[in-house]
């Protein structure tokens, strides 16, 4: 079909102008993180002004660019501590959290979307409810359960379990909402063709829900990737620490090494960006008109 671009699609140039400006503003604080990381120093950014500053002096002061560029912070972060090992631990924990979280959430989300059963509303609500109780007081009860009862201190499994359950409620709700938008007729026709419920779920529903699965995967990953206090509390061996724990060594207490922290933060966000790059194609490949018509 031929489309008249002039009337239906917005003009691209203004969009680009807007996006460039907005993106620059949005990454401005991030640029400061880069500036601190590459400065070779340790102090948090403070505008350095000469006496009686002019417009240009002020402009220079607010431009995030280090006076000298140095990689020393990155080098120190990677060599002073077993940071690579900690990133690896984080990767394993976050990846397993993603797999487990997405698995548990897709099945539950599917049931909540497709079946009507007693306790359905209550069940769905209870997932939401679990997010409502503030986590600050949960540390000791969780410690008792994971380390005391289950004996999972200093293990990956303990952390994965906790992170996955933290991520589940949002994932279930998100997926349930998305499953709701997938037309029932698709399943009906498959059922007529003799497909089992499990087959329908895996072959039809999951592929169609790719954007939502991508979102939940990213979310679960982030849950496991950035958590600090539980990881620091459950792990009793330095080799088992995760990257956020390693990062926090640079701050807290009397002195703060912001240069190291910034460099570490950048290293730590690289996998997240990579994952997002990988998930992007699923994020923008949803239902097509053809699929609905079946």
């Amino acid at each position: 079909m031929k489309r008249s671009k002039i009337t239906d699609e917005p003009e691209h140039l203004p969009l680009h102008v807007f996006l460039v400006i907005f993106t620059l503003l949005a990454i401005y604080p991030v640029l400061w993180v880069f500036t601190i990381a590459f400065s070779g120093g340790q102090s948090l950014a403070i505008a350095d002004l000469p006496s009686d500053p002019t417009f240009l002096d002020r402009l220079r002061a607010i431009l995030p660019w280090p006076e000298q560029v140095s990689l020393s912070n990155f080098k120190s972060v990677m060599t002073d501590q077993p940071f690579a090992r900690w990133i690896l631990n984080s990767a394993v924990v976050a990846a397993a959290t993603t797999v487990l979280g997405v698995f548990l959430a897709t099945t539950a989300g599917y049931a909540f979307s497709r079946f009507r059963f007693p306790g359905q509303r209550a069940g769905l609500m209870s997932f939401l409810v679990s997010q409502m109780f503030p986590g600050t007081l949960m540390l000791i009860p969780l410690y008792i359960i994971i380390v005391g009862w289950l004996g999972l201190g200093s293990t990956w499994i303990g952390l994965i379990l906790v992170y996955a359950t933290t991520a589940i409620p949002f994932c279930v709700w998100m997926l349930k909402g998305y499953f709701d938008t997938i037309p029932l007729e698709l399943e009906e026709s498959a059922r007529i063709d003799g497909a089992t419920p499990i087959q329908i779920f895996i072959r039809i529903i999951l592929p169609l829900a790719k954007p939502a699965v991508a979102v939940t995967a990213l979310f679960s990953f982030m849950t496991g990737w950035n958590e600090f206090i539980l990881a620091a509390t459950f792990m009793d061996e330095e080799v088992m620490y995760t990257a956020p724990v390693g990062l926090r060594f640079f701050v807290g207490g009397f002195s703060q090494q912001w240069g190291y922290f910034a460099a570490g933060s950048i290293i730590v966000s690289i996998p997240v960006v990579l994952l997002f790059l990988f998930l992007q194609k699923y994020l923008v490949s949803g239902l097509t008109a053809g699929a609905v018509k079946g």
Partner: protein
């Protein structure tokens, strides 16, 4: 005959087999938790390695560094449940809370010999004492002192008169230059002035005294510095102070050993004791925090743990931590060591600590911070007089303590 010999050989072997694992079993493993990092961590681990070597395998100490932000919670969660270390190192500010919570820190009175207690600065021992019982051996202390830029300040001021006079010459707020910069809005830093005026947060009977005349006077004095003589910058965050000092825009900074690591390479700095406050007739007396070596109450190896604590607070380990870790040990003998004696920075802190006052280790201390911070802020913003603000803080602290000790 033959069979007997075989029997003997077999018997010997058997005994050897039994004895070997017994020998291996005899090694005691101790776990130590700490929150050191960087150079402090390296030096601490070196001292631990020395101990392991000295014990020749009978005791093996292993260490675990915990990020400071998670450290207290980790101890609170793990130690009372018997899952924690044998020894941990922490400042005295949480001591009271952990003792009241129970099953966390082992009292040491039973072990303590006079020759051990006399090792330390008496004030550091005081920091380790709660309700007349000693709970830890003091390892290192931290105090704030006067740090000055040698290029800007030829000789550090000894009195508040000199300080203000010099600082006023240097200060030019319009270009962001200040004679003195320190986190005066932080109650911890302000305590140096407070103590100079004879103030404090708890009286002899343990009751809060936030609104005491001395405390109010100290705050009025601070307001004179900040408001009348205007030698101090506004909103003095630690990042700001560091950057002012490094850029030569602050002549003098009041800060602790942690600040030294943040001083930029080119800055020529010196240390001197905090000045005497003429109006109070007393030197500024900063609060001192003391890192104590504590034995975990559920530990199965308390004797070995105490032995290790003694080693760690002895002179040789102290010298390692002072020279290589840039820490300031509580053991006075450390400062007689030739290398330490020649170190102007370590000696400067040693001198400063003479007038320092241990920060209270009562559990109620945590209830002071938030009302005190609020009071400091409204006083500095001039939204309330020191008297009114401290009356309010006192009310708040009394009410919180009453609610806690219901």
């Amino acid at each position: 005959m033959q069979t007997r010999r075989i029997a003997i050989v077999a018997g010997t072997l058997l005994i050897a087999l039994i004895l070997v694992p017994l020998g291996a079993l005899a090694q005691t493993e101790l776990v130590v938790w700490h929150a050191y990092r960087g150079g402090e961590k390296t030096a601490f681990e070196k001292a631990v390695a020395e101990y392991n070597k000295a014990k020749g395998g009978s005791i093996k100490v292993s260490t675990l560094a915990v990020p400071y932000d998670a450290y207290a919670d980790k101890i609170t969660a793990a130690v009372p449940r018997g899952k924690g270390p044998d020894i941990f190192i922490y400042a005295q500010d949480r001591l009271g809370g952990w003792i009241e919570a129970g099953n966390t820190i082992e009292p040491l009175d039973f072990f303590l010999e006079d020759e051990i207690t006399s090792r330390f600065l008496p004030t550091t021992m005081e920091a380790m004492t709660y309700q007349d019982t000693v709970y830890g051996l003091p390892l290192n202390y931290k105090v704030i002192t006067q740090i000055y830029n040698k290029k800007l300040v030829s000789s550090p001021p000894k009195t508040s008169g000199e300080l203000v006079a010099n600082a006023q010459k240097m200060t030019d707020a319009t270009v962001g230059k200040f004679g003195l910069a320190y986190a005066y809005n932080d109650f911890y830093y302000h305590a140096a002035l407070m103590n100079a005026f004879g103030g404090g947060v708890f009286g002899a009977d343990g009751k809060p005294t936030m609104n005491s005349a001395a405390n109010v006077k100290a705050l009025e004095y601070l307001m004179m510095w900040a408001d009348e003589t205007k030698i101090l910058p506004a909103e003095p965050s630690t990042a700001l102070i560091t950057s002012l000092f490094n850029e030569g825009k602050a002549g003098i900074v009041f800060s602790g050993p942690w600040f030294l690591g943040e001083i930029a390479a080119g800055v020529d700095f010196g240390l001197a004791p905090l000045p005497t406050i003429d109006e109070a007739g007393s030197p500024m007396r900063p609060w001192m925090t003391v890192e104590g070596v504590y034995i975990a109450a559920p530990s199965q190896h308390k004797d070995e743990a105490y032995d290790f604590a003694k080693f760690l607070t002895d002179k040789p380990a102290g010298v390692i931590m002072a020279i290589e870790g840039r820490q300031t040990p509580a053991n006075t003998a450390v400062y007689d060591d030739a290398k330490v004696a020649a170190d102007p920075i370590l000696q400067a802190f040693r001198k400063q600590v003479e007038v320092a006052i241990p920060m209270p280790n009562k559990a109620e201390m945590t209830m002071v911070w938030s009302p005190a911070t609020t009071a400091m802020n409204i006083i500095i913003k001039k939204n309330a007089t020191p008297k009114a603000a401290m009356e309010e803080a006192q009310k708040e602290v009394v009410q919180r303590i009453a609610a806690l000790r219901k």
